[in-house]
């Protein structure tokens, strides 16, 4: 008899998953608890903060009296020189670049100084035997380790105070000078029209900004603005300008032929069944567009069809299917679906089939080893001058049986995990360019639209009753386009409130490529925080490229000084990590080796991440094939196994090394963005999960070290 599942079974099952998900915290906890309670309980019980402070004071005094701080003027000089040699796009960019130089110089100075100080201190005290007079006092080794760490942390704080004050002062001076220049240029009137609004914004808001920008939940591209009263959505056909992705969640069992549970998944193939509408577009047919990805070949007709010219065929209501993953990477190209042929819609509202043969389907199964496979069926309308309509739940997968007496299995698209009675929404995309999805321009404003959807956004209007927004887009033009001012790319931005459904007035924009453009919308249009931002390009022959974060709502303005302080705090936390690792290394190796080892520990995880593509399963075979072709099977096996083992070891090691990318001191501030407090918490978590256990390990090593060899 099978025993019923108990709560304990769930606990037993969940423990390994918990350990795996929180490996670094579990390891840290074990080291701290075992180290402090198992090895150093007596030291913990005798712990004295005043002794730690006294030891830290000596380390601090030693560094200061050795004139460590004298290196800061060199860094300052370097920043001043480099910032004078920069080539910024505009005044705001100059401030951003200078901010980056200041922080980079500070971080470099901090890391080098603290590594050298902390790595050399303990070995030198042991070498010159000063440690004799410390350990023969009632100081525990725990107090010595913490005292040393605290001492150098105080040194790093002193460096940061100097560099922070310099950075703030220098940036203030520089921004004042640049703002004065802008005012003079505006007053002189020698400004391009496309620039004026941006420069006025710089003067009004200042160049030293710290703002938080909220981005949309989704970005979708349609042939026309979706009608809230209808669930049908239209996408532009021709030259892969737009497509729709429908998510599917399937298991291997779902893919096995019905009635044959022991068969391999996908053994009988699969059929994509789609019901689609189409209509003539009011827009002119698509001309040759800038570089696209992925490349979709010209439509092909089945050999049984009578011959027609390519131009004629290009205007047929044909559709093609490929299978992609969540990132849009192609898992199964269109060439392997339906024998490489697009399907022809014989009439509007027609159902078409796309058979996928068993061999091709096996690739999807193998490339998604997870139990529940998520992939997307992507439908692309190929007919030039046509628009294709689709409603939810109009695409299904059919798993055909191998026997006539068994009905086929029909799979619906993925259910919403929050509400399994609902399907996940379809996703409408534009064609991918080099830096986002492309939107074609049309002068009469009736072309395709991009829609950013914001949901429950805490919108805060300014004193003028308008909500500040900003955009940074890329502009792509055809080679024969006029590059003069007259051909400046014009956009319109329009809001549609999700609650009222009301469309706001169109706001014109003439942005420059890849530069921030600023605009505001009336607060009532964004009331409730849920709204769409509808983007249209109104310049014929021009394409704009939009990313998920190309348009943002300025949610909050903050103080630049506070932002800089946050950045410095992140650097300070990083120095705590660097110092702790340095002290740890110096407890068991000489100081030159300690410096190297510290750098390896600090950069190890980052290095492995850089090699991530190489360090995957199967690298062993690749190495054999590339470097040792023709090796005998035993040799090839040995090489392959060795490389695989090394790869696993490196990946395993990287998991327990600190993640220095969680100290992003420059990530936001160099774009004028507010650094969220969560960044400091993330940095603090590295201190908790790595620096703390490392300090405990240093204490244990020092406790059992003979300091008078």
């Amino acid at each position: 008899m099978i025993e019923p599942i108990t709560d304990m079974d769930f606990v037993a099952l969940s423990i390994p998953a918990f350990l795996e998900a929180n490996l670094e915290w579990v390891l840290a906890g074990v080291i701290v608890v075992v180290g402090l309670l198992g090895f150093g309980l007596s030291d913990v019980l005798r712990f004295s903060a005043s002794r730690v402070w006294a030891i830290s004071g000596v380390s601090f005094d030693e560094s200061i009296r050795r004139r460590v701080l004298w290196i800061t003027p060199l860094a300052i000089l370097g920043v001043v020189i480099v910032s004078q040699l920069q080539h910024p796009v505009d005044e705001q960019d100059a401030i951003y670049q200078t901010t980056k130089f200041c922080l980079f110089a500070t971080a470099t100075l901090l890391v080098i100084t603290t590594i050298i100080l902390a790595c050399t201190n303990l070995p030198k005290e042991i070498e010159n035997r000063v440690i004799y007079t410390i350990v023969t006092k009632p100081t525990t080794r725990l107090e010595i380790v913490l005292g040393k760490i605290l001492g150098f942390v105080r040194v790093s704080a002193a460096i940061l105070v100097i560099m922070g004050l310099f950075s703030l002062g220098y940036l203030k001076l520089r921004s004042m000078k640049l703002e004065r220049d802008i005012r003079q240029r505006l007053a002189a009137g020698a400004i391009e029209q496309t620039n004026r609004r941006t420069l006025e914004h710089y003067v009004n808001e200042g160049l030293l900004t710290a703002r938080s920008v909220e981005h949309a939940q989704s970005l979708q591209f349609f042939a026309e603005l979706p009608d809230p009263a209808s669930d049908k959505r239209w996408m532009t056909g021709g030259n892969s300008e737009q497509s729709v992705m429908i998510p599917f969640d399937v298991t291997d069992a779902d893919l096995t032929p019905p009635g044959e549970p022991n068969a391999a998944p996908g053994a009988a193939g699969l059929i994509v069944l789609a019901r689609l509408d189409y209509r003539k577009s009011t827009a002119p047919p698509t001309e040759t567009a800038p570089a696209t990805r992925p490349f979709i070949p010209s439509p092909l007709r089945a050999a049984t069809q009578p011959w027609r010219s390519p131009d004629a065929m290009a205007q047929d209501p044909t559709v093609q299917v490929d299978i992609v993953d969540a990132h849009g990477e192609v898992m199964l190209p269109a060439e392997q679906v339906n024998g490489g042929h697009p399907a022809l819609l014989e009439a509007p509202n027609t159902t078409v089939q796309f058979p996928i043969d068993p061999g091709a389907l096996g690739k999807i199964s193998a490339s998604t080893p997870a139990q529940l496979k998520r992939f997307y069926v992507r439908l692309t309308g190929l007919g030039n001058g046509l628009e294709y309509g689709i409603v939810p739940d109009s695409v299904r997968l059919i798993i055909p049986p191998t026997r006539p007496d068994v009905p086929p299995r029909i799979l619906r698209s993925a259910a919403n995990p929050n509400d399994p009675t609902q399907l996940l929404p379809m996703s409408f995309q534009g064609r991918f360019g080099t830096s986002g999805q492309q939107l074609r321009g049309r002068k009469d404003g009736r072309g395709a639209v991009a829609v950013y959807h914001y949901d429950n956004l805490p919108v805060k209007a300014g004193n003028d009753g308008r909500v500040p927004m900003e955009a940074r887009i890329a502009i792509e033009r055809g080679g024969d386009e006029d590059m003069s001012d007259d051909a400046a790319t014009r956009l319109t931005v329009q809001t549609r409130n999700s609650k009222t459904g009301q469309l706001g007035s169109a706001i014109p924009l003439t942005p420059e490529s890849r530069r921030l453009a600023f605009f505001t919308v009336p607060a009532q249009e964004t009331e409730g925080g849920s709204f769409d931002l509808v983007i249209r390009c109104q310049s014929d022959g021009q394409w704009i490229t939009l990313g998920d974060q190309s348009f943002g709502v300025v949610a909050r303005q903050g103080s630049f000084a506070v932002n800089l302080l946050k950045s410095m705090l992140i650097l300070w936390l990083m120095s705590v990590l660097v110092i702790t690792i340095s002290i740890f290394c110096s407890t068991f190796v000489s100081w030159p080796i300690a410096i190297v080892l510290t750098l390896v520990i600090l950069l190890g995880r980052w290095g492995v991440m850089q090699l991530q593509d190489s360090l995957t399963s199967g690298i062993g075979h690749e190495v054999v094939n590339t470097w040792f072709p023709g090796s005998s099977p035993p040799v090839a096996r040995t090489i392959s196994t060795s490389v695989e083992t090394l790869t696993r070891a490196l990946n395993g090691l990287a998991k327990v090394l600190p993640d220095v990318e969680r100290f992003p001191a420059t990530d936001d501030i160099d774009q004028g963005l507010l650094i969220p407090w969560v960044r400091l918490l993330e940095a603090l978590s590295v201190i908790g999960s790595f620096a703390l256990p490392t300090a405990v390990l240093a204490f244990i090593l020092l406790k059992y070290k003979e300091v008078a060899p």
Binding site: S42, D43, I55, V58, D61, T133, T136, K137, E706
Partner: protein, 296 residues
């Protein structure tokens, strides 16, 4: 200091230094059994490499024994808590060279959690005791002479008013006056009931101040006992008298010969060189006349 336990007690204390591969390299100390009683000045003698410093390092927990045990003031050697009652002067003054004399003592005082008010009183007092003047107190230790460094080293060893003081070559680098002051200080510490473990290869120093001594050689204890007992030559008798003239001296020699003792010698006793030096310097300092051998 309570005397319920010995100041220092070791049993089969052994230290073997090993090489990188863990193989025995040097047996620095070999089965030392030693007891130092509370309140005595104990001398640890031996030539270089005999195991004196190794013994002190083991007692302080700077290194760990390969075999055997050691207790200090009743607790295992190296125990942090017992360091509250220990003062240690290493063979050279291993102190922070960038601090001045006062800062040095304040730093070590803080390690003993001595309140600031108490430190303000004790630091100048100790600097007076070790003979560092006001100017020297404000100078960085890197500017100190060897003698001054020994003095500040001694002051830091006494900052906590310890019950047990370990002095490793305390007179190294000191001039004769400094040496004498050091020895006087040791005797004064003894008078206060403190235990002093003196480690030196300067025999005269040890002889002058120690109650008991042990001689180590090649890591092993060769002898142990009271200085007086160890130095006494049992089969020789010495008679001392002051102010004998030549006639009385001749009669004394004849008397000894009459008693049938042929190999007796009658000479004037000599002082130690240290005593002679100190007397000369002190007399010169007091404005006295130059001292010559004919003066005696």
């Amino acid at each position: 200091m309570t005397a319920n336990f010995e100041a220092v007690q070791t049993s089969n204390l052994t230290k073997v230094y090993k090489d990188f591969w863990g193989r025995d390299k040097v047996r620095a100390l070999d089965g030392l059994d030693l007891t130092i009683h509370p309140g005595e000045v104990f001398g640890l003698l031996g030539p270089n490499g005999s195991g004196k410093s190794t013994t002190i390092k083991l007692l302080l927990g700077l290194i760990f024994p390969s075999e055997g045990t050691a207790t200090v003031l009743g607790q295992p050697a190296g125990s942090t808590s017992i360091n509250e009652k220990i003062g240690f002067l290493p063979e050279e003054s291993y102190l922070y060279k960038f601090l001045n004399g006062e800062e040095t003592l304040k730093f070590y005082g803080r390690l003993f959690k001595i309140p600031s008010r108490e430190l303000k009183r004790r630091v100048p007092e100790l600097l007076d005791i070790v003979g560092l003047d006001a100017k020297a107190r404000k100078r960085k230790l890197r500017e100190y002479s060897k003698g001054m460094a020994r003095r500040i080293g001694l002051a830091q060893a006494l900052i906590n008013n310890p019950d047990l003081i370990l002095l490793d070559e305390p007179t190294t680098g000191l001039d004769p006056i400094g040496t004498r002051e050091m020895k006087d200080l040791i005797l004064s510490l003894k008078k206060q009931g403190k235990t002093v473990l003196l480690c030196s290869h300067l025999l005269a120093d040890v002889q002058d101040v120690c109650d008991r001594i042990t001689i180590l050689f090649r890591g092993k204890m060769q002898t142990i006992g009271h200085v007086r007992d160890l130095l006494q030559v049992q089969d020789v008798t010495q008679i001392e008298a002051r102010g004998l003239n030549e006639t009385q001296l001749s009669e004394l020699k004849e008397f000894i010969t009459r008693m049938g003792i042929d190999n007796a010698t009658v000479t004037h006793p000599t002082t130690t060189l240290e005593d002679l030096f100190i007397r000369i310097v002190r007399e010169k300092s007091a404005g006295g006349t130059a001292y010559t051998s004919s003066d005696s």
